[in-house]
């Protein structure tokens, strides 16, 4: 659920696509080229972050009845345009897959112990969400 290497999107989605679920919804977070930013540095409180990701996954399954949830978040140094996070949800019904996917990424951003620093020419700044 947390990886240091590049995310293989095709492989992640392959697991979500099956004859059991008609609908797959995926969220893909990408490093945006904000003014002055040259790359991102991401760090995680690994064990605690994994626990929280597992809890969020279970919540999505029980709240929305989806059949499949997969979450992969990258850490370390990431270049502009690269993938930070992928959430893939599969369900027999598309509305549930949309709701579950949005729930997972919203809760991930709110609760999972991960931080990011925007690297700039002059050094960098930790992203503050509050």
């Amino acid at each position: 659920m947390i990886t240091e290497g590049a995310i293989d999107l095709a492989e992640m989605l392959r697991g979500a696509i099956s004859p059991e679920s008609g609908a797959v919804v995926a969220f893909i977070g990408v490093v945006r080229a904000d003014p002055g930013v040259t790359a991102l540095e991401i760090e995680a409180y690994d064990d605690a972050a994994l626990d929280e990701l597992r809890r969020i996954k279970e919540e999505a399954i029980s709240r929305f009845g989806v059949s499949y949830v997969n979450i992969l978040h990258r850490k370390g140094r990431i270049s502009l345009g690269e993938i930070i996070v992928v959430v893939a949800c599969a369900s027999p019904h598309r509305k549930d897959a949309f709701d579950a996917c949005e729930y997972v990424i919203d809760e991930l951003k709110r609760r999972v112990l991960i931080w990011k620093k925007e690297l700039t020419g002059e050094g960098g700044r930790w992203v503050n969400t509050r």
């Binding site: 977070g29 991401i42 760090e43 995680a44 409180y45 064990d47 605690a48 972050a49 626990d51 978040h73 930070i84 996070v85 990424i105 991930l108 951003k109 709110r110 609760r111 999972v112 112990l113 991960i114 931080w115 990011k116 620093k117 930790w126 992203v127 503050n128 969400t129 509050r130």
Partner: protein, 92 residues
């Protein structure tokens, strides 16, 4: 007793990612923070405002349970406890 400290984001840059400290039996979270302030330059300014209040973006977890601040500053510590210090999260 030994306390394991894990720091993240800006606090990691001041304290290092993982450090262990020997601290007196009977110490609490507040004692630990005071100790860190003495040995790590810049840590005091990072966690306390000019009037000496704990800054509201300082989050502390004791053995992966988030403490309520400032009331849990007097939580007692035990040997081998893990104390994590970090700002609000910003993943995704």
């Amino acid at each position: 007793m030994k306390i394991n400290i894990r720091a993240f984001a800006g606090f990691r840059e001041i304290l290092g990612r993982e450090i262990s400290l020997e601290i007196e039996e009977g110490s609490n979270v507040s004692d630990l923070i005071e100790r860190l302030c003495r040995i790590k330059p810049g840590f005091r300014d990072a966690v306390f405002s000019e009037t000496g209040e704990l800054r509201d973006y300082v989050i502390i977890m004791l053995n992966r349970r988030r403490l309520d601040m400032p009331e849990d500053l007097n939580s007692p510590l035990s040997d081998n406890d893990e104390v994590a210090i970090f700002p609000p999260v910003a993943g995704g």
